[in-house]
């Protein structure tokens, strides 16, 4: 029999044998948990009580030169639902009824969206079946009901949801791209689309400056309490979201509105296929207004026709017709090959050259160069070009920027067709200078006329004036690039402008472009449309391009009407539109009329 001390010792040893391995095992486990797997465990634990919130900055906005908003971000809400939280079928029906009524949606469509389960479908859209033949169903936890809901309406719906205890409804804040001026400048501004959570720029300035205007996402990581609210003393890391840069255009909204209004009137009057106009400052190359019809409302893009989509002034090329004549004549004047009073035989309206006839709209005899421009004689211009020479004609037109990019931040840009001399046939020298068989874009034409209006200095076109960082207010101006001199002789431009002033005077082709009190210099153009395989049709481009006041121009403007009905001449169709826009633009710019040019009853 063991003594009491021995018994105690034995029991203690037994306990030690049992407990020591347990303690060792616990120690090892503790070592692994606390040391080896520490980081992983710590991260797991932290994930339990930390949340990450992703914040999005605002996309940059677009303004006109004076800061009038053209494209902005309107606050809105995205309404979604968790159908699993809907208590009963009656509640689902009530929710569908209210949402459909308030959001102007189809009630049955909303009701279907609120279904707690939906059949799983394969790639072909057929329902997937379980082995027992029943349709495989998927539980719905997050269903989008409506996007871009205005905040006033969302507030009303929130209130209704609270009163009716619709716990399945969720409201998420967001911003939607909005165009507060509707159709104004729509083709140039372009628009964005939404692909999931991403904004995709589709067209226009929105697309060209997408990288600068895009916002940067922010990220906030914080420790939260049981209800999900951030702890005041907890860890908080955040990367701030970044707003995109604001873009200020050179466009002047009031001038743009005037142009759009007058184009609407002309579009209704002449019912053309299209009509477009550009107004630019010849000194800086700043585009002050651009408009086209047909166009679209970027706030409602469901009905955009392909005709309205295209930005015609930059994407289209047209055979310009007579509006191209001043450049060849100017080049010949500059080289001293002709003078304003040099005379050419205009062959009484028909001239056979290389077996092909070239016609004038009216029969003219012997005329001076000044009269050739005034009456827009094709034959006279062709004969001037023959004296000038093919190389000189080509080089002059290239120098004025035809066949080259204009610098406007719009894509795609049509460069036009301006074939090199080696690809010219015998007739080319009589056709190119009168604006046939070559293609130019409307912006190229305006730029070239800017040079004539700017005493022979060709500016680079500008559409964007500056970019602004909305957070710091830092402004990054887009500099005006120095213009390029076109004529060697400074008198050439003066002589050419005088000829173009006569175009809007008595006996000129564009008397309807004349504005009392102002000297208007310009040129009409009427070109037949060429369709491959069908030749020249009896459809026309009617154009007028000019500048006013001719001595110190405030602006250059081109108006082109594509296939007008009931008229075809630039002087009849386009010149009155030019005058209508120019008269109002001059008033807006407070350009005072010359009292010596006003009719006696209007002089003050």
């Amino acid at each position: 029999m063991l003594s009491s001390n021995e018994s105690i010792k034995l029991r203690m040893r037994l306990m030690a044998v049992v407990l020591l391995p347990v303690a060792v095992l616990l120690g090892i486990r503790l070592y692994f948990v606390q040391v080896v797997d520490h980081d992983e465990m710590y991260e797991k634990a932290r994930r339990q009580y930390t949340s990450v919130r992703v914040t999005k900055g605002k996309r940059g906005e677009i303004f006109d030169v004076s800061g009038n908003l053209l494209v902005g971000n309107a606050p809105c809400e995205i309404i979604s639902a968790d159908p699993s939280l809907i208590k009963s079928s009656q509640q689902r029906r009530a929710m569908a009824w209210i949402l459909a009524r308030k959001l102007e949606m189809d009630e049955e469509d909303v009701f279907a969206r609120l279904a707690p389960e939906r059949p799983v479908r394969d790639k072909d859209g057929n329902p997937v079946r379980n082995p027992d033949g029943s349709v495989k169903m998927r539980k719905m936890r997050d269903v989008t009901i409506a996007r871009n809901v205005p905040i006033e309406l969302a507030a009303e719906l929130k209130n209704i949801a609270r009163v009716n205890r619709f716990r399945a409804l969720f409201f998420r804040e967001g911003y939607m791209r909005t165009y507060p001026k509707g159709r104004l400048l729509a083709n140039v501004l372009g628009f964005t689309s939404v692909d999931g959570a991403n904004v995709v720029a589709v067209l226009g300035v929105e697309k060209f400056f997408d990288r600068q205007m895009a916002s940067g996402a922010g990220r906030e990581r914080y420790e939260r309490d049981r209800t999900g609210r951030p702890l005041s003393y907890g860890l908080r890391e955040s990367v701030q979201s970044r707003d995109g840069a604001n873009v200020y255009l050179t466009i002047d909204e009031p001038l743009q509105a005037i142009m759009e209004e007058e184009l609407d009137a002309a579009y209704e009057k002449w019912q053309p296929k299209a009509i477009y106009a550009i107004l630019a400052d010849p000194k800086t190359g700043n585009v002050l207004a651009i408009a086209q019809r047909p166009t679209f409302n970027p706030n409602d893009r469901r009905k955009i026709s392909p005709e309205a989509w295209r930005t015609r002034i930059i994407e289209d090329g047209l055979e310009p017709g007579s509006i191209l004549k001043p450049f060849t004549v100017g080049g010949a004047l500059d080289l001293g090959i002709i003078r304003a009073d040099s005379k050419f035989d205009c062959e009484n309206g028909v001239w056979m050259y290389l077996g092909k006839p070239l016609r004038d709209s009216h029969p003219y005899g012997i005329m001076t160069v000044a009269d050739i421009i005034k009456t827009s004689s094709n034959i006279g211009t062709a004969k001037i070009a023959l004296e000038f020479g093919a190389d000189n004609v080509y080089n002059t037109l290239r120098k004025f920027g035809f066949g080259q990019p204009t610098g406007l931040p719009l894509k795609p840009e049509a460069l036009g067709i301006m074939p090199p001399v080696k690809r010219w046939d015998g007739l080319s020298i009589t056709r190119f200078p009168i604006g046939y068989a070559i293609l130019v874009s409307p912006v190229q034409m305006v730029r070239a006329y800017c040079a004539l209006a700017n005493h022979g200095w060709l500016p680079k076109m500008r559409l964007v004036d500056r970019l602004e960082d909305p957070e710091t207010g830092t402004v990054h101006p887009i500099p005006v690039e120095p213009p390029v001199q076109m004529f060697r002789n400074p008198e050439t431009c003066r002589t050419l402008v005088d000829m173009m002033i006569s175009v809007t005077g008595e006996g000129g082709t564009a008397r309807r472009a004349a504005i009392p009190g102002y000297r208007v210099a310009g040129k009409t153009g009427t070109s037949r449309k060429y369709v491959k395989g069908h030749g020249y049709l009896t459809k026309y481009f009617a154009s007028f391009v000019g500048f006013v006041p001719a001595d110190d121009p405030a602006f250059v403007m081109l108006v082109t009407v594509d296939e007008p009905k009931g008229g075809s001449y630039g002087g009849t169709v386009a010149a009155p539109v030019f005058r209508a826009i120019a008269e109002r633009a001059l008033k807006h710019l407070h350009i005072r009329p010359d009292p010596t040019l006003l009719p006696p009853e209007k002089k003050r």
């Binding site: 507060p180 005041s232 209004e261 005072r592």
Partner: protein
């Protein structure tokens, strides 16, 4: 047989009993003071924590209000721009029959305001009573 390790109670030397009643009272008072201080500190800690939580809640509410107000301002800015669009103004002019028309450029005068610092000084003698030395000069110029 029950065996207990350790000293037999009765065999432990008896501690000498504390001194007078006064010293006992002082000790009790010291303990009470320490307990009161600890309690006070705990209360203060709880009170401050509560205040922090309340302030946090208020900050959150205010931030939320500011955020909502910002969104309302954004919305109003867009609405204002919509109302400033020319088609809207034109409709309003027609609706209210305002008979407005743009000014003739000959009616327009350019007003150049020269800041007081750059304005020419008028001598005190020639100055009418009650006027200041530096005057803001407006010039009418015609364009």
């Amino acid at each position: 047989m029950n065996i207990q390790s350790g000293k037999v109670r009765g065999s432990a030397p008896r501690r000498k009993q504390g001194g007078s009643f006064g010293s006992r009272l002082a000790a009790a008072f010291r303990i009470a003071m320490i307990l009161a201080l600890a309690g006070g500190l705990a209360n203060a800690y709880i009170f401050l924590n509560q205040k922090i939580a309340e302030t946090e809640r208020e900050i959150r509410t205010t931030r939320s209000d500011i955020h909502n107000t910002d969104r309302e301002i954004d919305n109003l800015r867009i609405r204002r721009e919509q109302f400033c669009a020319w088609p809207h103004i034109r409709q309003a002019i027609a609706r209210f029959d305002l008979k407005l028309q743009p000014a003739d450029p000959r009616q327009v005068r350019k007003l150049v305001i020269i800041p007081p610092a750059l304005a020419p000084r008028v001598s005190v003698a020639s100055r009418p009573p009650g006027t200041s030395g530096a005057t803001s000069v407006t010039r009418w110029s015609q364009r």
